[in-house]
């Protein structure tokens, strides 16, 4: 049989695996198998590619694959679950870098290409480069190597716009006469890397879920562009599947924050907020001690726990689960209500709670919990702030006005576990803390919950 036919036939099987794999990822019961199906498809695609007639030497391929596999397996095995968002960001960046390098390698091998191929080479380098450095900056922000706050300076948008226009202009010149423009190509590589950095630094921590999903989409599009370069179907199919999924996630995240994508990308959130953080709040803060909190929880028939990024920081997910189990043993109904943008990546809280062994059928989404929240005896807010801020519903001058929130203040009693009265990530004051039915349980979330757990055990 003709080799090319065999290769492409296997690519079809790989594409089917990716499609079914993604489909199975949409239900918790089949998700793990789906991931395996997609991995097998990838393995098939890689193995059959080795038959390609253009390959005459295998030693460097083997070297790259072994080095990459060792690094990948180690990183994936050793990373702590709380470090997952930045790990995913970093892997994503490597995918983008690989697309950049593929475009470059093809161009270096044969610089006199036609206009169509030149355009696709340029796109794979540009998108790949932006994905790479953008993801590395996101990695730095998430692991707190660099500040998680938006980095802003005057004229930032003008600088970015000029660079982007420059990149497009380079692309046009390059694509018309690719063979004569190697220096320009190098400039473009650098430009794409700089653009990636500049695009992500103005974006603050609470917006990270949007950025991560968008970069995820870019890495797919970069692979897609690389597919056009080498005219390979499987790259185009797989790349565009990923591109589409990233765009959908980005859209979901934006909706959950009631902001447009351009608003997230081009306006540093924190800066806007500080200028008009003047929300006048009435009432007084009512602190509560662990012992009193225990008596209320002990009498409660239904408890909803609302986790946020603070739970990840305090590593409190295991004690939270322990408390949940004790409450259930006490005849109370326990649920975990999760806001779509809680944490630093889409679905961050779900993964943490799964790690702590909380069954996924106990996790409820915002839209399902809100209609029944008035019947809930106690809402425990663990390290969440902006996603439960009633100002989003009531105060039109608030920067987060209109953002859908979990209406914990409608519950009979609200416990807020918090270190101090400092405002949340977005720097917005939270009227929830001053409501009549709110009790503040100050201190480290993990220690507070541990205190509650031992109260339950000692009784």
């Amino acid at each position: 049989m003709n080799r090319d036919v065999l290769i492409n036939a296997v690519y079809i099987i790989a594409a089917i695996s990716f499609i079914f794999g993604l489909k199975m990822l949409s239900s918790p019961a089949t998700a793990r198998k789906g991931n395996l199906v997609s991995a097998v498809g990838m393995l098939l695609a890689v193995v059959v590619t080795m038959l390609n007639k253009e390959i005459i030497s295998y030693q460097w391929i083997g070297f790259g694959i072994i080095a990459g596999s060792v690094a990948g397996v180690f990183a994936a095995r050793l990373v702590a679950m709380t470090r997952m968002p930045e790990m995913v960001a970093l892997f994503n960046g490597f995918g983008g870098l690989a697309s950049l390098l593929v475009g470059w390698a093809v161009y270096h091998y044969q610089p006199s290409v036609n206009v169509f191929t030149a355009v696709t080479i340029y796109l794979s380098v540009l998108i790949g480069g932006i994905t790479f450095t953008g993801s590395v900056v996101a990695f730095g922000k998430l692991s707190e190597v660099i500040t998680g706050k938006p980095v802003l300076y005057t004229g930032q948008q003008i600088v970015n716009a000029v660079l982007l226009i420059g990149a497009i202009a380079c692309g046009v010149v390059f694509s018309i006469v690719p063979a004569a423009n190697y220096p320009l190509f190098i400039v473009s590589v650098v430009l794409s890397l700089v653009l990636g950095v500049l695009a992500v630094i103005p974006i603050g921590g609470a917006d990270m879920p949007v950025v991560i999903s968008l970069l995820n989409s870019y890495s797919g599009l970069a692979a897609c562009a690389a597919g056009f370069v080498i005219q390979n179907n499987i790259l185009i199919v797989a790349g565009s599947l990923v591109g589409a999924s990233g765009i959908i996630l980005t859209n979901i995240m934006c909706k959950a924050m009631n902001r447009s994508l351009s608003n997230v990308l081009f306006s540093g959130f924190g800066a806007v907020v500080n200028s008009k953080a003047k929300t006048s709040v009435e009432g007084e803060v009512k602190p509560i001690v662990v012992e009193d909190a225990y008596y209320i929880l002990e009498a409660a028939r239904s408890v909803v726990i609302v986790p946020g990024y603070g739970m990840a920081v305090a590593q409190a997910q295991h004690v939270v689960r322990e408390l949940g189990e004790l409450l259930e043993a006490n005849g109370c109904e326990v649920k975990y209500a999760i806001h779509p943008v809680a944490g630093r990546m889409p679905g961050h809280m779900n993964v943490l709670l799964a790690e702590a062994n909380v069954p996924y059928d106990q996790l409820v989404e915002m839209d399902d919990i809100n209609p029944m929240i008035e019947t809930v005896d106690v809402c425990m807010v663990v390290g969440a702030n902006d996603v439960v801020n009633p100002a989003a519903r009531e105060d039109e001058s608030s920067p987060i006005y209109g953002m859908p929130i979990i209406n914990v203040d409608y519950a009979r009693t609200v416990f807020v576990l918090k270190r101090s009265m400092a405002s949340g990530f977005a720097g917005i004051s939270n009227p929830l803390f001053y409501k009549n039915n709110t009790r503040m349980l100050f201190g480290d979330a993990k220690q507070s919950i541990q205190g509650l757990v031992s109260e339950f055990k000692n009784s």
Binding site: L22, L25, P28, A76, R77, P85, F91, A105, N216, I236
Partner: protein
Amino acid sequence: METVAIFLGFILILSIFLGFELIAKVPSTLHTPLMSGSNAISGITLVGAIISAGTGEGNWVSVLLGTLAVAFATINVVGGYFVTDRMLGMFHKKETGGKQ
């Protein structure tokens, strides 16, 4: 050339629509595994990298770039699938209970 471009464009458009249809129904519980799983798929660029790395030492710059691309894409693929599997291994329903 034009026919190839149109043909590849066709595949692109259909796959994007297919992607939208496939992903639109994923519950938010699975957003992180979906991201890291699809992230692993985007490492498919490995296929292109392999071809570049294998073109022979005659053009050593291309081979070097290709080899680097293979290494990074492999990290993306292998790390991505392993991390996703690790995450999904922790999701369980109430009835089954217990950590595997």
